[in-house]
């Protein structure tokens, strides 16, 4: 199917699908065709789900997570540890931490990392919210779960500096050999980080 052989509604659908991560124009056409062939099973429910999400999903004013309630269900969940806040770069990182099931505290989404190249400074991140939360008497630890990149770790050091006067323990994720990783196949940087973090 070429663009010329389709009506404007279909072209709009293809153009919008092509903007999604992992999809280009070709795969967007395939996805659109797949939806159009199954209007009852896929197209209509998907349209309803999208409309529902657009109407109800908001960023949590407490932590920055996406949810249909504000504060989000993680912030209001009973049984989670209020004493520990895990700061992450993006909502996707929060979801990754939740999938692992190893953390039962609260989260804080920064919305990015410091980047001189991209002109992202401290004021562009949700830092004031993190500091305000860290000042609460029940908070004892802030975990900085940011990427092991120069920008991610620059942000870690910056936040650690900002929290220096606050009565909380600031920790970070370990760097080193991934589970299932073989030394022979690791880059020099990872081996160096693993050696520096050995215990």
């Amino acid at each position: 199917m070429t663009h010329r052989s389709a009506g404007p509604e279909i072209l709009r659908l293809i153009d919008l699908l092509a903007k999604l991560p992992g999809l280009g124009p070709r795969s967007a056409r395939r996805a659109a065709l797949h939806l159009l062939k199954r209007p009852d099973q896929l197209l209509t429910p998907l349209a309803a789900a999208l409309a529902d999400a657009a109407e109800k999903v908001v960023a949590c004013r407490e932590c920055g997570n996406f949810d249909t309630v504000d504060p989000c269900s993680i912030c209001t969940a009973a049984g989670r540890d209020d004493a520990v806040i895990c700061a992450v770069e993006q909502v996707g990182d929060l979801w990754a931490m939740e999938r692992s099931g190893v953390f039962r505290g609260r989260y804080h989404v920064l919305g990015g990392v410091l980047s001189a190249l991209d002109g992202v400074g401290p004021d562009d991140l949700n830092l004031s919210g993190l500091i305000a939360r860290a000042l609460r008497p029940e908070v004892r630890e802030v975990i900085l779960a940011l990427n092991a990149t120069v920008e991610g770790q620059t942000t870690v050091h910056y936040i650690a500096d900002r929290l220096a006067g606050v009565d909380v323990v600031v920790t970070r994720l370990a760097h080193g050999v991934p589970v299932g990783g073989e030394l022979d196949h690791l880059d020099d940087g990872t081996i160096a980080a693993a050696m520096a973090s050995r215990r």
């Binding site: 991560p21 190249l117 991209d118 990149t149 120069v150 620059t154 500096d161 880059d187 020099d188």
Partner: protein, 257 residues
């Protein structure tokens, strides 16, 4: 087809689309350069392309002025991972990368500055050494870009010893006894910048950063109509809090007039 091979220090990496990245590098023989890295957004490739690492590069494009792509970007020296846990070293590494990225014109070879940059990056693990070297490197950056200071002799008396200050207007060194009536308008010149025997203690390093900072801000970046990159301020602030440099009370920068 345009193609070149060179060594280069990675300055910055930004994601481009799903799988690619745009890499900025400072190469030895071609100065600052930029190109696409296919697969550069992957976890494995990103670790290699972090700022501060020296890479062996092969760049190709249809025309020399095109964005082009790095057909090869293999690690030669991986420095960034070594300094991720060291806030002082990481702040210096980030400062070097952002100063070069913001100040260097594209495609102008600066081999002397490249060699000095590698030397500086190689000693970032030793905080007793690198702050003073960083000041010298900034002097080299100013010189390489046409804003060099003349610290060889006194602008007033011609003497080559006893130099104590620098004119903020001309960038030339002077002796305190020859410029006594203007001392409050001059920038102190730390001894370690004119003599290897002089001490590079915290106060001298502070004076050095104040001196280079003045010319970076008012001259180099002033002419580029850009602010001095923020990572430099963060690095100096962090050094000061770590007790690695100090600024005398009341040591504000002099007015230009």
């Amino acid at each position: 087809m345009a193609e070149w091979t060179d060594r280069g220090v990675a300055l910055g990496l930004r994601r481009f689309g799903e799988t690619q990245a745009i890499l900025d590098v400072f190469t030895r023989n071609r100065g600052r350069a930029r190109g696409l890295v296919h697969g550069g957004a992957s976890r494995k490739r990103r670790s290699v392309l972090q700022p501060g690492n020296t890479l062996q590069l092969v760049w190709r494009a249809r025309l020399a002025d095109d964005l082009g792509h790095f057909a090869q970007a293999e690690p030669e020296t991986e420095r960034s991972a070594r300094h991720l846990m060291d806030s002082l070293a990481l702040s210096a590494l980030t400062s070097v990368a952002s100063l070069l990225n913001d100040a260097l014109p594209e495609g102008e070879a600066k081999p002397g500055l490249f060699d000095a940059t590698e030397t500086l990056l190689d000693v970032l693990g030793d905080v007793d050494v690198w702050p003073a070297l960083f000041v010298r490197w900034e002097l080299g950056l100013l010189t390489a870009l046409g804003y060099g200071l003349d610290l060889s002799r006194c602008a007033l008396s011609g003497a080559t010893d006893g130099l104590t200050h620098v004119s903020p207007r001309s960038g030339r060194a002077v002796r305190a006894d020859a410029a006594a009536e203007w001392l409050d308008r001059l920038l102190p010149l730390p001894g370690f910048l004119v003599s290897n025997a002089a001490s590079a203690d915290g106060e001298a390093v502070g004076q050095g950063f104040r001196l280079t900072g003045w010319f970076l801000e008012r001259r180099l970046f002033g002419d580029l109509n850009k602010p001095v990159p923020e990572p430099r301020d963060l690095m100096i602030d962090r050094l000061e809090r770590a007790g690695r440099l100090s600024f005398p009370a009341g040591a504000d920068s002099p007015d230009e007039e």
